[in-house]
């Protein structure tokens, strides 16, 4: 085992939601799509996920930039996480990745290329 945490961690599954302007699905529904796809791609179940990291966390405004955070996703998927991080002060999206490395769990890191505007 390397003494560098990032060398002991691997991305084992990837999921992506549809990407569109003015999607018919809510941001949380799209996040669920991507998370379930990633979990399945990794050959895991929701019950085996014990960590969750996202950036920049929930922004409860109507900008559409980041309306979904750890709490909403954890609750919707009924994840039993022992560790989670959704802080904004981090090197952008990589902040979630580095937090996940530090968390050293079997986890989900929701990222988004684009968010629709919620109506």
């Amino acid at each position: 085992m390397s003494r560098y945490p990032e060398k002991n961690i691997a991305i084992v599954g990837i999921g992506m939601s549809e990407v569109s302007r003015g999607a018919t699905k809510s941001a949380l529904a799209l996040t669920i799509d991507a998370a379930l796809e990633a979990i399945a791609d990794a050959g895991l179940s929701r019950a085996e996920i014990d960590g969750l990291a996202t950036w920049p966390g929930e922004r409860a405004d109507s900008s559409g930039f980041s309306p979904v955070g750890c709490a909403a996703l954890q609750d919707a998927l009924r994840l039993k996480v022992g560790w989670y991080a959704g802080g904004a002060e981090a090197p952008g999206q990589y902040g979630a990745v580095f937090n996940a490395i530090g968390g050293n769990r079997r986890g989900v890191v929701p990222q988004r290329a684009y968010l629709p505007n919620d109506v």
Binding site: K25, S26, S62, A76, R78, V119
Partner: protein, 141 residues
């Protein structure tokens, strides 16, 4: 279901989306709409098109009885913003249809001292702009 006609407290309204619109507007017809899985009939709240029991992606808003009971509550004494009443009750209410469907709302229509743990309540709606906010009062009020 009646409408609360006493002076309404100041309310900060949520930004709603396609998933939550039924919950926040069902009161227009006097209905408390809770998302329910089309497959296994498990109520999913907050509303989202994913059922954690059956993993179905099909949920639909269903009118519930509006009855529930107070799981926990606190009495707020400070008027944090202009228009907020000097004392109000914030309660966690468990709906009768399914114990893990819990709503956060106010108990209105009685003095805060009259609210008790396990108290049976029923929903009423207060229209604020384009939303109908679900509030609760003691049954038999």
């Amino acid at each position: 279901m009646a409408f609360d006609t006493s002076d309404p407290p100041a309310r900060v309204l949520p930004v709603i989306n396609q998933d939550s619109r039924p919950f926040w507007t069902g009161g227009r017809l006097g209905q408390l709409l809770i998302a329910r899985c089309d497959e296994c009939l498990y109520f999913v709240h907050p509303p989202v098109p994913f059922c954690p029991r059956s993993e179905s992606r099909q949920v639909s808003p269903v009118p519930v009885s509006g009855r529930g009971r107070v799981l926990s509550f606190s009495i707020n004494h400070k008027a944090w913003i202009p228009g907020l009443p000097s004392r109000y009750v914030l309660a966690l209410i468990e709906l009768a249809e399914q114990p893990d469907v819990r709503l956060v709302s106010n108990i209105v229509g009685c003095a805060p001292e009259e609210v008790s743990f396990g108290m049976e309540v029923e929903v009423l709606f207060e229209q604020v702009e384009d939303l109908w906010v679900p509030l609760f009062r003691s049954v038999g009020q």
